[in-house]
C-alpha cells in the first residue's frame, strides 16, 4: 500500500513538473541564451528544410513504401470491389487481372523488403547509439505517458486555453500513433496476405500448430483452416482499405495541406525539417539541435541579439500569456 502511494505521489510530482516545464516561456540554452517558446514566428526557414530529421535510409524506405503502396492499392482495390463498374478499367490499366495479381505480389515483396530494411536500420542505429552512449529513449518512437498529456495540452491550445503548443520530442503523439498503426498494419497485411497467397501452406501451418496449443479434437481442428482463411480474407481487405483511407485523407493532408506546409513539404525527399516546424512541434528536439549543431547555435544567438533578448531580460520578462511579437518585434505588425 505504501509502495502504491509512493508511486502515485511520484507520478503527481512528475506531472506537476512537466506542467511547469511546459508553461515556462523562456528556455535557457547554454551558449545561446534564453530561447522564447514562440521564436518560431520570427525565424527564417528554407522550404527544403533546415534541420536534419531523417537519414537517407529512412528516406529510401519511405520512398519504396510510397511507390509500392500506390501500386498495391491500384491492383488490390479492383479485386476487393470486383463487382463495381470501374474495377474492369482499373485492371485493364495493368494488362489484365493475371498481370495485376503478379504486380501486386512483386510490390508486396518489395514492401516487405523495405520493412526488413527498416528494422535493420533501426536496430543497427540503436546499437550504435548505445555503444556511443548517445541513446535516449525519449527521442525514439516508443510511446510514453507524456504523449497523452501532450494530446490534452494540444487540444487546450487549439481551443485557446493554453498559450503555446506542448514542448514535444522528435516524434509527437500523432507520429507515434501512426508509426504503431503501420507496425500493426504491416503485421496484419503480411500475415493475411501470405495466407491468401499460400492457402495450402497456411492451412497446414495454422491448424496443426494451433491444434496442439488449443486442442479441440476431431473435426474441430480441421475447421480452423476455414476459419483462418475467412479471417485472412476479411482482415487483408479491411486493413488495406483502412490504410488507404487514412493515408489519403489524413496522412497526405496532414503532411502537405495543413497551414505552413502547403503546397508541399519536402521532408520526404530531403530528409530535413524546416526550422519553424521543428520549433513549433518538436521544441525539445530543437534544443537537442542547438546543442549538437554549432551553426544553428550561431544562428539562434544572432537572432536573439537582433530581437533584443538577452540573459538579463529573461529573468524579468517571464509572461506566459504575453507574446514576444507584441513586446519586442515592431516588424511583426507590418508583416501582418
Amino acid at each position: 500500500m505504501t509502495a502504491f502511494a509512493k508511486v502515485f505521489s511520484k507520478m503527481i510530482e512528475i506531472g506537476a513538473r512537466q506542467k511547469a516545464e511546459a508553461a515556462e516561456y523562456y528556455t535557457h540554452v547554454e551558449g545561446v541564451g534564453p530561447v522564447p517558446r514562440d521564436i518560431y514566428k520570427h525565424v527564417k526557414s528554407d522550404p527544403l528544410g533546415d534541420l536534419p530529421r531523417y537519414s537517407p535510409h529512412i528516406v529510401i524506405q519511405h520512398f519504396l513504401v510510397f511507390i509500392t503502396f500506390i501500386f498495391l492499392a491500384a491492383t488490390g482495390l479492383p479485386i476487393y470491389f470486383s463487382d463495381q463498374f470501374w474495377a474492369q478499367y482499373f485492371v485493364s490499366l495493368f494488362g489484365g487481372i493475371d498481370v495485376a495479381r503478379r504486380i501486386h505480389r512483386i510490390c508486396a515483396f518489395i514492401m516487405m523488403f523495405a520493412a526488413a530494411y527498416h528494422i535493420i536500420t533501426i536496430v543497427g542505429g540503436t546499437l550504435r547509439k548505445i555503444r556511443h552512449h548517445e541513446f535516449d529513449y525519449k527521442r525514439t518512437q516508443l510511446p510514453r505517458l507524456k504523449d497523452l498529456f501532450d494530446l490534452i495540452h494540444d487540444i487546450k491550445y487549439f481551443l485557446g486555453r493554453a498559450p503555446y503548443r506542448p514542448k514535444m520530442e522528435k516524434f509527437m503523439y500523432k507520429q507515434k500513433a501512426h508509426y504503431l498503426a503501420i507496425i500493426w498494419g504491416n503485421f496484419v497485411l503480411i500475415a493475411a496476405g501470405s495466407a491468401l497467397l499460400f492457402p495450402d501452406v497456411m492451412a497446414k501451418l495454422f491448424p496443426e500448430t494451433l491444434g496442439k496449443i488449443i486442442p479441440l479434437g476431431g473435426a474441430g481442428v480441421e475447421s480452423y483452416s476455414a476459419f483462418f482463411q475467412d479471417l485472412a480474407r476479411l482482415m487483408h481487405a479491411d486493413e488495406a482499405v483502412m490504410a488507404l483511407i487514412l493515408l489519403a485523407f489524413w496522412h497526405w493532408t496532414n503532411v502537405h495541406v495543413v497551414p505552413g506546409r502547403f503546397p508541399i513539404q519536402w521532408a520526404f525527399l530531403t530528409g530535413k525539417i524546416t526550422r519553424e516546424h521543428q520549433i513549433e512541434e518538436h521544441f525539445l528536439e530543437y534544443l537537442h539541435n542547438l546543442r549538437e549543431i554549432p551553426e544553428e547555435r550561431e544562428y539562434m544567438k544572432n537572432l536573439l541579439k537582433e530581437l533584443g533578448i538577452d540573459g538579463s531580460k529573461a529573468v524579468s520578462a517571464v509572461d506566459p500569456n504575453g507574446s514576444l511579437a507584441q513586446e519586442a518585434d515592431p516588424a511583426a505588425g507590418e508583416k501582418a
Binding site: 518560431y40 514566428k41 525565424v43 527564417k44 526557414s45 528554407d46 522550404p47 479492383p78 479485386i79 470486383s82 463487382d83 474495377a87 474492369q88 487481372i97 493475371d98 495479381r101 494540444d154 487549439f158 500523432k174 491468401l196 492457402p199 495450402d200 501452406v201 492451412a203 497446414k204 491448424p207 496443426e208 480441421e222 475447421s223 480452423y224 483452416s225 476455414a226 476459419f227 482463411q229 475467412d230 479471417l231 480474407r233 476479411l234 482482415m235 479491411d238 482499405v241 483502412m242 483511407i245 487514412l246 485523407f249 489524413w250 493532408t253 496532414n254 495543413v258 497551414p259 505552413g260 506546409r261 502547403f262 503546397p263 500569456n321 504575453g322 507574446s323 511579437a325 505588425g333 501582418a336
Partner: protein, 382 residues
C-alpha cells in the same frame, strides 16, 4: 574528268535503283495483294444438300403465333458455316422433316440422333447419346420422382449449348492427357489420341468455353434465389452464385481471368456433364473426392486445405466470429478516420487563429497577427 561529276550522274547502277524507293512501291503492293488473295480462307461450304437455305436464308422468315410470340426461322449461313455442326446436314437433326415444303414443326431436336458423320476409326455414325446418358444420371437429369416444377426447371442440351456463342479460345498447352476424357464422351477410344492431338484445341482445356461464359450459363438459372429455394436446393446451393463472386475464384473470373476456377472446374469431372449433389459419392465435391478436385490446380492439398470455404459467406448466422471481426474493423475504421481527420481540422483551426497562413513563403508561414485574446483583453472586454 572530275570525280564529283561521276557521282552526280544519274546512272543505272543497282545501288541507285534501290535508293529511289518510289520505284518498287507498285510491285510491293502487287505482291501483297496477291499473297492476301492466296492466303485468305475460302468460305466454308454449307452442308446444304437439301437446299433448306432456299427459304431459311431470308432475314424476315418467321411467324407470330397465337400467343403473340415471335419466332425467327432465319439461319445465318456464315454463322452456321463456322459452327461445330457445319458438316451436318439439316435433316440429320431435324429428322421429322421429310419433304419440302415441310409441315408445321411440332417436335424438338433430339441430340441423341445418329447423324451421317463417321468419326475417324469408327464404324458407327456419330451420336451424342453417350454424353446424354452421363447427363441424365447427373443432378440435372430428369427423374420420374421429380416434382413438376423441378422437371420444368431442369435444363436440357440446347439450354446451354447454343451455336452462335461459339468463339475462338484461349489455349494452354500441356494438359491434354487428362482432358482426352472429353473425346471419349462421344467418340470410340481407339485411335482418338493420334487423330485428335494435333487438330483440336479442345484437348488443351477442360472446357472449350471461357470461365466467364461457363459462369454466365450456370448463373442464368442458379442466381435466381427464389427459384432455387422453390426447388429445395441446400442452403449453400441457393446463394451459390452470390458467394462464388465473393471468393477469389469468382472475383478473378469477374475481372476477366482465364486461369481461375469456374463452376465446371470443381463441380464436374472431365466428362463435364456429370454434376451431382455433394451427398452423392460420384460427385466431384463429395467429401472423399474434394481433395482430388482441388488438386487439379492446388498442388499441396491436405485434409486441412479442403475445409477452406469456396463459397464464403459473411452472414451472421453462418460465421458469427468473422461477422463480429468485420464489425470490429468497421468501427475501428470509422473511429480512426473520424478522430484523426477531426483532430487535423481542429489543429488547423487553432493554428490559423494563432497567426499561421496556409502558404509557406517569405521564409515563414507565421505572417498574420494572432487573433487570440489574452486573459487581460478578455477582462477588459467584459
Amino acid at each position: 574528268m572530275k570525280p564529283e561529276s561521276a557521282i552526280k550522274a544519274p546512272g543505272l547502277k543497282m545501288s541507285n535503283f534501290f535508293k529511289n524507293k518510289s520505284i518498287y512501291i507498285f510491285p510491293a503492293i502487287l505482291v501483297a495483294v496477291i499473297s492476301m488473295l492466296l492466303l485468305s480462307r475460302p468460305s466454308a461450304e454449307a452442308a446444304d444438300e437439301y437446299n433448306c437455305l432456299l427459304c431459311h436464308k431470308h432475314r424476315k422468315m418467321g411467324r407470330i403465333d397465337q400467343n403473340g410470340k415471335r419466332w425467327n426461322y432465319n439461319v445465318d449461313e456464315i454463322l452456321y458455316n463456322h459452327s461445330v455442326h457445319r458438316s451436318v446436314e439439316c435433316p440429320d437433326c431435324h429428322t421429322y422433316i421429310t419433304k419440302i415444303p415441310h409441315d408445321p414443326v411440332t417436335q424438338k431436336v433430339n441430340c441423341g440422333n445418329q447423324c451421317h458423320i463417321k468419326p475417324p476409326f469408327a464404324q458407327k455414325d456419330f451420336s451424342h447419346d453417350k454424353i446424354i446418358d452421363i447427363y441424365n444420371h447427373s443432378a440435372h437429369g430428369i427423374r420420374p420422382e421429380d416434382s413438376e416444377a423441378l422437371k420444368n426447371a431442369k435444363p436440357y442440351c440446347k439450354y446451354c449449348h447454343l451455336n452462335p456463342i461459339y468463339i475462338p479460345l484461349y489455349e494452354e498447352p500441356g494438359i491434354y492427357k487428362q482432358t482426352l476424357q472429353r473425346c471419349f464422351n462421344c467418340h470410340p477410344q481407339r485411335g482418338v489420341i493420334q487423330a485428335y492431338r494435333h487438330i483440336t484445341h479442345r484437348l488443351r482445356k477442360k472446357t472449350s468455353r471461357s470461365p466467364q461464359e461457363i459462369v454466365h450459363i450456370c448463373a442464368t438459372c442458379h442466381k435466381n434465389e427464389e427459384l432455387m429455394k422453390k426447388l429445395h436446393l441446400s442452403e449453400i446451393g441457393v446463394t451459390a452464385v452470390k458467394t462464388y463472386y465473393q471468393s477469389i475464384h469468382g472475383k478473378l473470373v469477374q475481372l476477366g481471368s482465364h486461369k481461375a476456377a469456374d463452376c465446371i472446374s470443381c463441380h464436374a469431372s472431365n466428362a463435364l456433364h456429370d454434376i451431382y449433389k455433394k451427398e452423392n459419392p460420384r460427385a466431384t465435391i463429395y467429401k472423399d473426392n474434394i481433395e482430388k478436385t482441388c488438386h487439379q490446380c492446388h498442388k499441396e492439398t491436405s485434409s486441412y486445405f479442403i475445409k477452406i470455404a469456396v463459397h464464403p459467406s459473411e452472414e451472421h448466422s453462418e460465421n458469427p466470429i468473422i461477422y463480429l471481426v468485420s464489425i470490429f474493423f468497421r468501427v475501428v475504421l470509422y473511429a480512426a478516420v473520424l478522430s484523426m481527420v477531426g483532430h487535423m481540422l481542429f489543429e488547423t483551426f487553432g493554428r490559423r487563429k494563432h497567426g499561421i497562413r496556409f502558404f509557406f513563403r517569405d521564409g515563414t508561414s507565421w505572417r498574420k497577427r494572432s487573433r487570440r485574446r489574452s486573459k487581460k483583453e478578455k477582462k477588459q472586454a467584459e
